[in-house]
Symmetry: C2
Subunit: 722 residues, 2 copies
């Protein structure tokens, strides 16, 4: 439990979420920083709800017992020497103590390794056992109990929980200085940064600690604390401002969250005064090596670097005639001795493209740049690949890079911050979208999924992937999300956008989870039944508002996978031609006859050929291509009949009318919660739903008018198009 953040919304860790736990008599076996955290959490709960906690071995002297009781300082647990109530919950590190007989009975036969973060849960009804091999497992197990609530203490057979992905990371695009264009947080929609303000560290470590606690409770274990577009002050976090990073690392460490840093590839020049940053230059290598040593001196568990190189104007190895493997391996070599990794972003494309040139295709860029380098990256390089080939649109195919680099550790990058999905002014629950991405099977339904790729297990599951690396599970690159958190009292601007942060962590831990079930967890935790006027109605309403909100957002925005009909720059609201004649490579090519981008091998850019079968064939085939991606892959006449049976133009009209109607329905549903939930939260959501309604209608009208003006085809149902 942290102090000093009392005006901040508790998100999915309100006191009430600890009610079942806090009534138990708990015994904790184990030592270490994260076990301390576990004990503190339990003690805090007991202080509120009357339970007790004992620890074995105790890490406070028996002569200074801290009574169990109302919340006070840290370490509010009963030392082992105090009189022992019957422990009905045992939290134990497997090697910390001999288990009692009941516990040994409950777990008979379940002695496989749980790993660094896994845990085992079993219960007889009277007694519950949580077992882990390492402190982090105990911490994750504890929050699992919190999630389960009273059900955690039912009788249950042994369950083992291990994260599918070892790396579950949030990247903060937080600027240290306020940037004249992108502000304090690039693509941030939740106020300022929780780390930085106006060029300096905020110093509000209570808030950072609270953040770490929320992350641990949804499963995130790594955070990059500054923007991948590294500006002047951000660059210096690596050197003279390293102390700021160390303070954050110290604060997040008790919750098992490691800190990573975005660095500029030009650091040897910018910070070191060297004449160049050539990755093959000995002085450059020495500079980076010294930098890494300094970092690990201060932060022994430092996670590593995040690098955006040769991308949208950031410096990179191309300047020196080197390639991305040269660049990434340079940094990786300096981190390897300390166990650090390099997250090297694959978001490399020509952002000075000529719209007149229909043969250049931004969608192809990451594949064309990186697949020739497969096998050349060091073991501690993680190639961080955006989930789609473009840029976090509401609908894109999965990036073919994810199926094309078997000898490279790949991380999947998704955007929790809603840059292109309503900027936290619109309700848009992204769990279903991420679930679809992670479950996508690039080699066909029998093959491994994107989640397997991120886990590093794709090659072991299906030889068709052509894997040469044979990586182990822990060698996957994991899942990375761009954070949606700011210094807003609700953390995420839109209170309901908390669900995205929560779902990100949960799906990173287990990509197989049903996103609606994850949402249900979030609802139960965040709106504890005891605190709401009508728990059933609250739960039903939140599901009604959130479950399908991603599809709703898709309906009223850019149709059929075509993407990028947003206002340039800030990316909020519609502008159908906004990027149509720009250098950014994001076009729809609408004319009076049709719309869409021909990316076929037969007549287009050939992008379909970057996929393995069966998708290379399905996407290529006008009639096999999924409707929702049709305009991503094909340029078709407005009269083209979709698999749904509707024409493209009628689909555009219908979905845009339907999307707005659905937003109106969401507003009506939400209004039923007046007086049933926290008034401040109610007001905030209501105000944002009004804006969502306004903006959705604007999307509907602009998109429909644009296509009516261009196609001349009237709406079959005669609705008003302006």
């Amino acid at each position: 439990m942290s102090d000093g953040a009392s005006t901040v919304h508790p998100a999915w860790l309100p006191a009430e979420a600890f009610g079942a736990l806090g009534r138990r008599h708990t015994l904790v076996h184990g030592t270490g920083l994260l076990v301390d955290t576990v004990v503190d959490e339990v003690a805090g709960a007991c202080g509120r709800y009357g339970g007790t906690v004992r620890r074995v071995p105790a890490d406070v002297p028996a002569t200074a017992p801290s009574p169990v009781g109302p919340a006070g300082g840290p370490r509010r647990h009963v030392p082992a020497t105090a009189p022992s109530p019957p422990g009905d919950l045992l939290l134990a590190l497997r090697d910390a103590a001999a288990l009692p007989a009941w516990a040994r009975r409950l777990t008979a036969g379940a002695d496989g390794p749980l790993g660094d973060e896994g845990f085992l849960l079993a219960g007889s009804g009277d007694r519950t056992l949580l077992l882990a091999d390492a402190p982090a497992g105990l911490l994750y197990g504890l929050f699992h109990l919190v999630r389960l609530g009273r059900a955690a203490f039912d009788a249950r057979p042994v369950e083992c929980h291990r994260p599918a992905l070892a790396r579950r990371m949030l990247d903060h695009w937080d600027n240290v200085d306020v940037h004249p264009v992108t502000g304090q947080v690039e693509r941030g929609y939740a106020g300022g940064s929780i780390f930085w303000r106006d060029g300096a560290a905020r110093g509000d470590l209570a808030r950072v600690r609270e953040y770490g606690r929320l992350l641990a409770a949804c499963g995130v274990n790594a955070v990059a604390v500054n923007n991948v577009n590294v500006h002047a002050s951000g660059a210096r976090l690596l050197t003279e401002r390293l102390g700021d990073v160390a303070a954050i690392a110290d604060t997040l460490r008790p919750y098992g969250v490691r800190v990573h840093l975005s660095v500029t590839f030009a650091a040897p020049v910018v910070l070191g005064g060297l004449p160049n940053a050539d990755p093959l230059d000995a002085a450059v290598r020495a500079w980076w090596a010294a930098a890494a040593r300094r970092v690990y001196d201060r932060i022994p568990d430092f996670g590593g670097y995040v690098v955006k190189a040769d991308s949208e104007g950031q410096p990179g190895p191309f300047t020196y005639g080197r390639d991305h493997a040269d660049g990434a391996n340079l940094l990786a070599a300096t981190l390897a001795p300390f166990g650090g990794v390099v997250h090297w972003r694959a978001f490399v494309y020509d952002h000075r493209q000529d719209w007149r040139d229909r043969s250049t295709d931004r969608a192809r860029a990451a594949f064309d740049h990186f697949t020739p380098l497969d096998g050349r990256f060091r073991d501690n390089v993680i190639l961080q690949v955006k989930h789609g080939p473009m840029d976090f649109q509401v609908r894109e195919p999965v990036s073919p890079v994810l199926a094309a680099m078997p000898a490279t550790r790949l991380a999947v990058e998704v955007q929790v911050t809603q840059e292109y999905t309503g900027q936290q002014r619109h309700v848009c629950y992204l769990g279903p979208w991420w679930s679809e991405i992670l479950g996508f099977a690039p080699w066909g339904p029998q093959g491994p999924t994107v989640a397997d790729v991120a886990a590093g297990t794709a090659s072991t599951r299906d030889p068709r992937s052509g894997a040469g690396g044979g990586r182990s599970a822990t060698a996957g690159g994991g899942l990375v999300g761009v954070s949606n958190v700011g210094d807003d009292p609700f953390w995420t601007g839109h209170p309901l956008a908390q669900a995205n942060l929560y779902a990100f962590g949960r799906l990173a831990w287990d990509p197989g989870l049903d996103p609606v079930a994850v949402l249900d967890e979030w609802i139960r935790l965040t709106f504890p039944p005891a605190t709401t006027g009508d728990p059933g109605l609250v739960r039903r309403t939140l599901h009604a508002v959130l479950d399908g909100s991603w599809w709703t957002y898709e309906r009223y925005t850019a149709p059929l996978g075509v993407g990028f009909m947003v206002r340039p720059g800030h990316h909020y609201g519609p502008d159908v031609d906004g990027y149509e004649y720009t250098p950014w490579g994001t076009y729809h090519f609408a004319d009076r006859d049709g719309v869409g981008v021909d990316r076929t091998r037969a007549t287009g850019t050939g992008f379909t050929g970057q996929y393995p079968r069966p998708w290379s064939e399905r996407y290529e085939d006008l009639h096999g291509c999924p409707d929702e991606l049709l305009l991503f892959f094909h340029h078709v006449p407005y009269g083209h009949v979709l698999r749904s049976g509707r024409t493209v133009i009628q689909h555009i009209y219908d979905t845009h009318f339907a999307g707005v109607e659905q937003v109106e329905a969401m507003r009506g549903q939400w209004r039923r919660l007046a007086g049933l939930v926290d008034p401040a939260l109610y007001a905030r959501v209501s105000e944002r739903l009004d804006e969502q309604r306004r903006c959705a209608a604007e999307w509907r009208d602009q998109v429909n008018s644009y296509f009516l003006r261009k196609s001349g085809v009237p709406d079959e149902h005669g609705r008003r198009i302006w």
Copy 2:
């Protein structure tokens, strides 16, 4: 002559421009600050070219003669008591001294009043006489001699010069603080402000003085020193920062330039702490009255206020249920005792318009807001009307407001800064455009012109204007230009954009001047024949590049008067649909069948009805409407045949191809000047012509592609459209 600005380009006042004057023997009759300036200017020229200057009466003691000679401190003239060389140039205030016989002979019969700023020039060949009634006249006459060069001293009959417009003003949209969006100078394309930097006065008064000198030499006599969008620090110039304004006024005063201030209508609240700014509230009136007294205590010749009220978010009288007459008269009443005026901008429109609503028409707004108030404004209110009904587009009809308020003093506002005409990266000589506007005859060819309206003489010239006020010539509102000057070494970013500043002043003085002749003056002054390698070639080339550059710019940008196909926000470069679905009220309504805005009375917004005959009829008539304004007034099919015989769509294609070819030709012409003009200037212009070529091709391609995609009509000549 000012010191301390030696790295700044001399613009149209290089030393060489004073060669003919500086070889003369000059006698100056008169006293006063501006006569001092005249003497200083002549002395400076004599110091360089060997002439002499004497003054009668002397304003320095006879015991301290200052020798005529090399440049030194100020007042380098020969006192009247020194031995007198034969004066072959006499500069005299008519009442300062008895004229010698030769001068009386030369001016026999020419004894009409010259006014505050007029002058009389006559010459026998041996002797030249410049006569004025007031010191400013002598100063303007002096710069007239400079402009004439050697020809000034030819024999010539009496010429009287009086400004057609008494008020010739530049508005600086300079922010005191750097604004997060608009920067130091809103719509500035020539670096920072010459007045302000980072929230403070720059203190570089030498540069300000040099600016005043340039203004006097082209005829400008008033400057507003801060942005009409008045932000926090700008507002305080009226109160605690008044000293900054006084320093500028002191610096400009010797060149006959009065200082005006943009004020916020909310000043009584923002600065005075009053609960409201209601113009009918006694406390508000008292606050403004006290403010005016304080201003005139510091700046006795303060010009007055400029006010943008109830416009694009600026505060105004609407907040209090009052109208613009109430608002303007409030301020005017407080300035009247001191001789000040209020420039009240008529740029009031709904910038939160719904694009779906085709009946609301931004073009109508100024007329609808202000004409009902005609006759209600105080004598010292000047209603400042943008030349067109929209916003400084490259082509608009003249604002009908200028023909509809006979009982109001009207100023015409033009934009010298090239917001919509290439932002001083493109060559675009605006003299012909302003000449066309000022020469426009709203009541038909026999009636008064826009220049007459600005001069206040429209009603005396033609009773059809329905004037009720019977204003005198000096009661016109004059011509106001938004300045294009910044702290750039060439003053205007693009060196050739100096011609616009020069032409603004000259056309304000005499709207009947031929803009090409004005340009020729500028060329001869700025590129003195003695300093260029091939004077004839330089002059021909500058004419070839500049003379038609406005029409060239029009050709490759928005066609046929439709306007606003620019990138939103910064307004540079093409974006055909950029404003099409926005709240700004600036649309073209292009669809697959046609393009243009129906502003007719018969079927459109009725805007044509705001004009008097004959224009109300001509604009209404599809076939009578001038081609260049067709799409401003009518929505027509792409196949509509223009008066030129071409279809609209073919006109679009042809002009866009032609415009780019003309820019290429300009580049070729300019290159002939390599080695013939100042290398730094040559390089600057060359670099900008490259950018103009790039940008013009971008305009061509985007506009042509947009209309080909929409219309499906191929180019008759089969040229490449993307």
